[in-house]
């Protein structure tokens, strides 16, 4: 079985502004790295072509008035917030990005591929039912999850490891007990949500698990949270599908965040998710690209790590260039793990009565 990569050169064309961090250049070096690694020709990789999501598919997640606003603003240009302007032609691009996530899920469900990575732009996890923001317009991973529910997946686990909290995704599924939203993100950071005490509401109480981590958190913090929280909870939840909001901005070179994950740490994190999917849901997993702004120094290495882990390739060479040593040492916070251990104790308190494994 192969790993699908949904990618299209059209994903490079979206630009709010030529100088914006979420710009065309973002995936150019990564595309070079993937090409040089022979990924597109590798028999373990199947390149999947995105289709534009339909208006109806977008409306599974978003309010009609918000979609009308996006569509109309896309004709002339518009503004959501200072970081998120609407350039002319945006609507077609967000439909293609959302469709990229849908193709990833559909291909996994159809058995065309074992798992898939939708390498789409623009990202989506800050977009809520009636709002955009943080470079996001429509919520690609939420639309994917809604399509999976319609394809018969009763329970879906979302693992969002973008450095910024996936406030849009949390909002959309906050009261939904069929979707377990888990998020590891930098605390005290944009968008300001994602406290460990935000645990869902109504029937969805307990189905939102936030794991804020301090600046400088590195590989051992992620592995700790995977082993102590995400793995056990996932087993108890027993999902039919795992959807990953794969932010690449936790890398220690990222200019818009302060975390310290390495390329090897990314590969190990994805390998954990792949192993979990293999154990719990016949390997069914789709990842959608979210943020990641270390376009030249980070993304080429972290993306290879993620894809190699998805495809079960040899991960022994996944690492950062050795010349990055000083950058890593500057970003790394040796006290982060102790801090996160405290957070997990808090999580056990707020979630212990819902999740046996945390009690």
């Amino acid at each position: 079985m192969t790993t699908g990569i949904v990618y299209h050169p059209a994903f490079l064309t979206h630009e709010q502004h030529p100088l914006h961090p979420e710009r065309r250049e973002r995936l150019a070096y990564t595309d070079d790295q993937l090409t040089e690694e022979g990924m597109w020709e590798d028999p373990r990789i199947l390149r999947l072509h995105p289709r534009p999501a339909t208006r109806e598919e977008l409306s599974w997640v978003h309010d009609e008035r918000y979609l009308n606003f996006l569509e109309q603003s896309s004709r002339t240009g518009g503004v959501i917030d200072l970081d998120t302007v609407i350039p002319p032609g945006l609507f077609a691009q967000v439909r293609l990005a959302a469709g990229g996530g849908l193709v990833a899920g559909e291909s996994v469900m159809a058995g065309t591929v074992r798992n898939a990575f939708a390498m789409v732009r623009p990202p989506g996890h800050h977009a809520g039912t009636c709002s955009g923001g943080g470079f996001c317009y429509v919520n690609n991973v939420a639309i994917l999850v809604q399509s999976l529910k319609r394809k018969g997946c009763a329970k879906i686990l979302i693992l969002d490891w973008d450095a910024h909290h996936g406030n849009g995704t949390q909002e959309i599924f906050y009261e939904d007990p069929d979707v377990l939203f888990t998020s590891i993100h930098q605390s005290g950071f944009y968008p300001g949500t994602g406290d460990a005490t935000e645990i869902g509401a109504g029937e969805g109480t307990g189905y939102t698990i936030n794991m804020p981590v301090p600046a400088g958190s590195s590989d051992e913090v992620y592995q700790y949270l995977l082993a102590e929280v995400i793995g056990p909870v996932a087993e108890e939840f027993n999902p039919d599908f795992i959807a990953v909001s794969a932010g690449l901005d936790n890398h220690f070179t990222d200019p818009l965040a302060g975390l310290a994950l390495t390329a090897g740490g990314y590969a190990a994190t994805m390998a954990f998710a792949v192993e979990l999917a293999g154990r719990l849901c016949a390997g069914r997993l789709a990842a959608v690209l979210e943020g990641g702004y270390s376009v030249e120094g980070g993304l080429p290495y972290t993306t290879i790590g993620i894809i190699a882990a998805l495809a079960g390739m040899d991960l022994s060479g996944i690492r950062d260039p050795s010349s990055y040593g000083p950058l890593f040492r500057r970003a790394f916070n040796p006290g982060a793990l102790r801090h996160v251990q405290e957070t997990v104790r808090l999580l056990r308190t707020v979630h212990g009565n819902i999740w046996h494994c945390l009690s």
């Binding site: 490079l12 030529p18 100088l19 710009r23 065309r24 250049e25 150019a28 070096y29 070079d32 790295q33 090409t35 040089e36 690694e37 022979g38 597109w40 020709e41 590798d42 390329a263 030249e296 080429p300 290495y301 290879i304 190699a308 390739m313 040899d314 022994s316 060479g317 996944i318 690492r319 950062d320 260039p321 050795s322 010349s323």
Partner: protein, 482 residues
Amino acid sequence: MLFTGIDIGGTNTDIAIVDGDVLTRKVPNDAGLRGALDSLDIRGRLAVSTSQPLNRLIAAPPASVYAITIPGPGLPSPGSVAGMVNHRGDILEEIDPAAIRTALEEHAAEYLAICGKFSVRNPALEEQVRSIALSFYPPERIATSHGLARLDFPARRVTTEVNARVLEIVAAMVRTISGYAQDFLFFKGDGGLASAGAVLRDPSVLFNSSPAAVALGARYLTGRSDCLVVDIGGTTTDLVPLRDGAPCMQDVRIDGKNAFIRSVQAESIPFGGDSVIEAHLSPRREGNPMAFGGGRPTLTDALNRCGASIGEAARSAHLDPDRAAQAVRAYISRIAAGVRASDAKIIVGAGFLADHLIPEIGREAGVRCILPDHAACANAIGVAVSRVSLSLRVHVDTGRRRVVINGEPVHLHQEMDDDELVAWCKGEVRKRALCMGAPEEDVADVSLAYFSAYDVIRYGRKKERIADLQVAITPGITVDAK
């Protein structure tokens, strides 16, 4: 203008001299390349198609090739040593010369391939490894990968291993042929010509050039742009489609792996003039036909028994006439089936036995057939009348003030906008083709096969620009021969 073309096939070497008139000749391969060249009074331009030795080498069991790779971070690779070039062509990790010497001492092999990730953006590390390796291998047994100019490290590695194996043979050919004609050109698998210097940088371009040669020759002799060329050789009969005046190209895989080797699409049917007749016609060659001194009857002998007069026809008398007729019928119906499957409306005959077999194949397949004069040596004619083809893959990084053309860095002297850059690259490919001896008219039309460019933004400001493009002069018939 006078053009000489030589195509070294499996059994014979075909020679064509074209100067308005066409003169052709066949020389048996026993005499070797020198024998063929000795038989010529070379004037004008000499072009040589020599894919047979390479084809055999590539099909042979793998020779011992040691590949030193410089993979850096990412997917690991066998034979890896320290060192790293990144996607911008920056060296982020140096090689360790002592470790490379140890690796070379521990891995004795006949040939050495050196392949580093992103060497096409900066060949320095590959060159450093090569200079160390020169104490262990003769220069003509070492191939590096950067000249292949394309990203895709695994495919580059496979191609570099092929080049390591064939470089020495090609270099020896270059020395031999240069003794007869200083400025000769090689005929490549894509149907174009290239200088010896260019071929020595990537000898894999010579792979399987015969189908391209026969396609071009058939086009030259008939003026047909859309047809199926049926080339009847000694061992095989090749069906080569021509569309819009050009053969179709396909990727060649080596041991099931991707490589940067392309050749003309052809269906090779394993029957030809030398196929032996036992109870029936067999897809095997066991030496020459009896009419040419061989010991076993072949399709050629069968044609003699059906009324032809090929070679010493009397020697074919050994073959039973009924069996001969049956073998010829079997051959014709096998080839006609191939023609029918191709959907061709017109076939053009080529090869030594074309006169005797093509009309019958056309009749049975229900298609129109054309049998041009000199059909027997259409391949050598194709070689003679071909033109220089050349592709430049260019990577421009204004931040590094670097232009890399087919893996070789050049200093960027002046800033250019995108249009100026394309014009400059087109000028460069023309200049290089003219240096190989192409006439002005052949280089007038340069195509832009690929273009991609983006700005490098740092700290909210546009700092630099990166562009990748490919410009090409495509294969075809030289204007001077038209």
